[in-house]
Structure formats: structure tokens, C-alpha cells
Amino acid sequence: MSLNLGNIIFKPTDQYHLNDISLNFEYGKMYTILGRTLSGKTTLLKTIAGLQTPDSGDIEFDGKDFLAIPVWERNVAMVYQQFINYPHLNVKQNIEFPLKQRKMDENLIEKEVSDAIQKVGLKGFESRKIQELSGGQQQRVALARSLAKKAKILLLDEPLVNLDYKLREGLREEFKKLFTGSEASQSIFIYASTDPLEAMQLNGDIIVIDEGKILQTGSAKEVFENPANAKVAEITNDPAMNLNKGKIENNKLILNNNIQFNLPGNLQTMSSGDYLVGIRATDLHLDNNGFDFKVDISEISGSETFLHLHNQDIKCVATIEEVKSYEVDENVKINFDLSKIYLFKESGELHYSPYNN
């Protein structure tokens, strides 16, 4: 029993919004659609919901042709980025709405609604008007309404992106708990996000999308450790993975005149040639025996510092595990953790990954 998308194409203007998408979703699982803004995530969610009809392709759900079923009969639920609730109804009425529409039994409605309110932590707010609530609370109401429906497919389109930073952190944890309960096995959860950290925290299967095309699907661990190509490596890391042109020659890994390494053990079997060398920001360290880099700018995030560096034409970002300000053009010495190097072919495909050889 699952949701299958086959060769979906959606091209409303002269650009593809969805370019030959085929995906398979199973019950009881959490899927994160990870991609940049305008990569097609929202369009994909809306197509599954039925709010947009693809130009060609088919969607099959539980063996039935989904495309033949209109939106209001599809039994899906969607939570938007902008907090969408019915403004003329109070919290309780908002959550009841889909259940009343379905003409469910009154007592059953009462039970489901109070369950949902409990789950999202809004007990006591039942008779409040939507306009009186804060952003976070409004989003919880939208979530409660989706949960109360017990829809088979629950779609979430970057639901936390418009909330305060700290609120986002808290709600993300709550989401995780909500989507892995025992009842969760009855539904498919699809969560769209631009933030790789969010995708990792949700720990479901990741679907990487860019410019309407699916670049890779796999478990969070798999996609993180073995990105299928350089583009995926960029999208699934924050800061983006450092990618620089380099070559293997005469048993050395060469990035530029200044930065060269003796070929480490794990790369001995690699043939000579030009490559795109990838290394994560966390795998670059401050090291007095390292190479000289000039600081372009330092960025501080909560608990660590990101240094944007360059050495001639080689640019990279290093994550330093402390909070420290660096001045522009300051010199620092950086070394590479060679056991974590990735090699991509010049076309971008993954050639060597430190986790899978």
C-alpha cells in the first residue's frame, strides 16, 4: 500500500517545475524533500495534494488512479509555510472543520479534536480566536487540524520557516515525536525543507530535488555519507561542501601550487586525472602545521565559527568549534582531514566516498 508517482512532468511556462519525477512512498515512513528555494518542492507537494495537475505522468495511491480523484476526496492534509487557518472560526472549530465536513459522529469528533489539541500542546486555547494567537500557536492549530483528520498523506511545506529561530528548534523536536507515534504507521509523512540540518534531525528518507529533477533518494545517513553527485553534496550540507578543482598526479593530490598532499592510503587506488575534490567544512581544522589561508570573512553561529577562506584560487569554508571573531585578511593555518575527502568526476558524479569503499 503506497503512493507512486510515475514520470510526472509539469511545465507551466518555458521552465520545468517538475521534470520527469518518479517516486515511491511507503506507509509509516517520514520523507524529507530537500532542495533550494524554487527547486520544485512546493509544486511537488501541491501535485500530490491535487491542487495542481501535472501535464503528463501518473499518480497511483493504494492501487487507484489518484489523478482521477478530485482534491476534496483525496484524504490528504497540508500544512503551509504561512500560517493558514480559517480566520472566522476559533481554534476548536478550525480543528473540527474537516471532521464536520466528513459528517463524522459528534462524539468521535469531540474525541479526535481534544486528542489533537493535546498533542500540539494547545489545551485551554479551544475558544480563542485565531487572530489572538502568536505565530507559533497558529502553526500548531494548522498542525492539529491536519492530525485530527488522520489523513493518509500528511504534507508539510517548510512549516517552521516563518517562526522565530528558537521557536523553530523547539517545534522541530515536537514534530519528531508526533510523527513517530504508533498511529503514525497509518500515514505517509512528507516534509519539504531547504535546511539539511532539519532533514537530518527528522531522520527519515531524504529526497534531494533541484530544478524540478530528483537527484537522489535514500536514508538520511546514506544521502549524507554518499552524495550521488556534487550538486547533492552542496544541497545536503550546511555550510555547503567545499568543492575545488584538483588532480591526482605522481602519487600526490594537488589542489594548487601551495596545497599538495602525498596521496593518503585510502586514495591509493585512484587513477591519476582531474577531479572535483570535496571536503566538508567540519573536516578542515586549525593546525599550526597546516597551509596558509587568508580569511575573507568569519561568521558566527550560536556555538561555532565559520571561516570563509582562500588560498590563491582555492576557496573553502572551515567550521571552527569555538566562538571567536576573526578579522578580514587575517592569516590562519588550516589542515585537511584526508580521511574525509570526496572525489567527484569532473561531470559531478561521485567517484570516491570515504564511507563506502
Partner: protein, 282 residues
């Protein structure tokens, strides 16, 4: 300093209120006067400066045979025509506005905005331009001098107002609300009636007000398109005029015709101030 400011504030408001109420007070006082009180010199306060009579008022209720005009019939005609035409205009106009707001129309270079403008442009034309076409139109249909004919004409005149106001209102309700309603199990009609419409009540009330006012005060089309069978209030009141202008009955007539509008205004204002119209969306 602040005290002076407050005093000035209240003073200006009271001054302006007097300015606004004065004509009404004048009309009320004039309606109780007779010929001499009006022509002799300016008189204001009843019993002190002149002897109030009910002449002006009684003329409005006497039938023509006794030298008066009976406004009761025309009064109800006006009410019926205005409210029916307004109601239908709003019903149709709101549906049209919703379509214009939510769906994309394109025929050649004509798009949604052009269609909306086309509706609004109907109100820009001077009414005189429409007089002959409407006359011929109703005559062909056999609806001259009939309530149905007049209602038809008023719908044509009032619907653009409804469309104009409601398109703007619907544009302010995010499309995502309709989508959520669809996802929650409503078909498009239910989505419109259960979700979008309740959030557009302020707009409908404003549109309603405009329609009622413009419909009620219309003299031109009522004059041209009705004669004996159907008489509307504005036309009937004009019939009061004779060689001697009867200021007293005219004042009474004016008050009587403005009264419903004032009642509507008060009712809506009470409704407004109760906060029922706070359909504000975040």
C-alpha cells in the same frame, strides 16, 4: 498645553457636527411650518417663533383627489425595487468577483484586470447615454412601467459596484485558504460558501450599502422608465411642486425619504462597532 489641545479637538468636532446636523434640524422645523411662517421671514424655533402645523405632513398621506400625494405606495415600491435589485446585484456580483479573483481568464490580450475594469467602466458613463437604449430595451420586452423592468435596469447599474468592491476584497483573502478548504473535503462551491464568504462579510456589507444608497436615490431612470402603474418615491415627491413651492411638504418628504437610509446606517454601524467585522487576516 494638552488641555488646550483637547479643548480645541472637542470644539472642532462639535462645530463640524453642528454644521452637519443643521440642515436636518432646519428641514424638521420647516416641515411643521405653514405658508406664512416660511415666507414672512426666517423663523427657527416652533411655538416661540411660529405656530407648528401638520399641514406639510398630512399632504403626504392624502390622496390626489384631496390635493395631496399619497407616498405610501411609492414608498413601498422604492423599498421593494431597491432591496431586490441590491440583493441580486450583490449575489451575482460576488460570484463574478470570486471568479475574477481566483481563476485566470485570457482571451487574446484581454485578462482578468481588463474584465474587472470593463465592469467598473460601466459606472463611468453619464446616465443620459443609457436612457434611450434602456427605454427601447424595456419597451421591446414589454417591461416599461413595471417593477420587474426597473429592477432589471437597476441590477445592470448596481452590479458593477458589487464586483468592484468584492474583487478587491477577495484578492485579500489568501488563496491558500480556499486550498485548505478543498483539502479538508469541501468541493469548490462549499469552499466558497463556507470559508471565503464568511471572511468577506465586511466587503459585502460595504457593497450592499453602496447598492442600496445608489438604488434608493435614483431619480433619472425611475423618471424615464415609469409613468402611471409604477411610481417610485423620488418621482412622486417631485410631483409636489406647483406654482407655489410647498417648502413645508417638501421638507417633510425629504425627511421621510432619507429616514430609511439613516436607519440602515445606524444598524450597520452598530454591527460594525461590535467587532463582528474584524475579519483581519494575519
Amino acid at each position: 498645553m494638552p488641555k488646550l489641545y483637547t479643548f480645541l479637538k472637542y470644539f472642532c468636532v462639535i462645530l463640524w457636527s453642528c454644521f452637519v446636523i443643521a440642515p436636518f434640524l432646519w428641514a424638521i422645523s420647516t416641515s411643521f411650518k405653514d405658508f406664512n411662517s416660511v415666507t414672512g421671514g426666517a423663523t427657527y424655533i416652533p411655538w416661540l417663533q411660529f405656530e407648528p402645523t401638520l399641514d406639510g405632513w398630512s399632504v403626504l398621506f392624502k390622496p390626489g383627489s384631496q390635493g395631496g400625494i399619497n407616498i405610501i405606495g411609492p414608498y413601498f415600491n422604492s423599498v421593494f425595487v431597491t432591496f431586490t435589485a441590491s440583493f441580486i446585484s450583490i449575489a451575482l456580483g460576488t460570484l463574478a468577483a470570486y471568479a475574477l479573483s481566483r481563476y485566470t481568464f485570457k482571451a487574446g490580450f484581454v485578462q482578468n484586470n481588463d474584465i474587472t475594469f470593463f465592469f467598473i467602466s460601466q459606472r463611468i458613463m453619464p446616465p443620459v447615454v443609457l436612457s434611450i437604449p434602456f427605454f427601447i430595451f424595456l419597451s421591446t420586452l414589454g417591461l416599461l412601467d413595471s417593477l420587474a423592468g426597473l429592477i432589471l435596469v437597476y441590477i445592470v447599474l448596481l452590479m458593477p459596484i458589487a464586483v468592484w468592491i468584492m474583487v478587491d476584497f477577495f484578492n485579500r483573502v489568501p488563496k491558500e485558504i480556499d486550498e485548505t478548504a478543498l483539502i479538508d473535503g469541501c468541493n469548490p462551491f462549499q469552499a466558497f460558501f463556507k470559508v471565503v464568504l464568511p471572511n468577506s462579510i465586511p466587503g459585502m456589507i460595504v457593497a450592499g450599502l453602496f447598492c442600496i444608497i445608489f438604488g434608493w436615490i435614483d431619480f433619472f431612470f425611475a423618471f424615464i422608465l415609469t409613468f402611471t402603474n409604477v411610481q417610485l418615491l423620488p418621482v412622486k415627491i417631485v410631483a409636489l411642486n406647483s406654482s407655489i413651492t410647498p417648502w413645508w411638504s417638501l421638507s417633510a418628504a425629504a425627511l421621510v425619504s432619507v429616514a430609511p437610509l439613516i436607519v440602515v446606517a445606524f444598524v450597520v454601524e452598530r454591527f460594525l462597532s461590535k467587532g463582528n467585522l474584524s475579519g483581519a487576516l494575519k
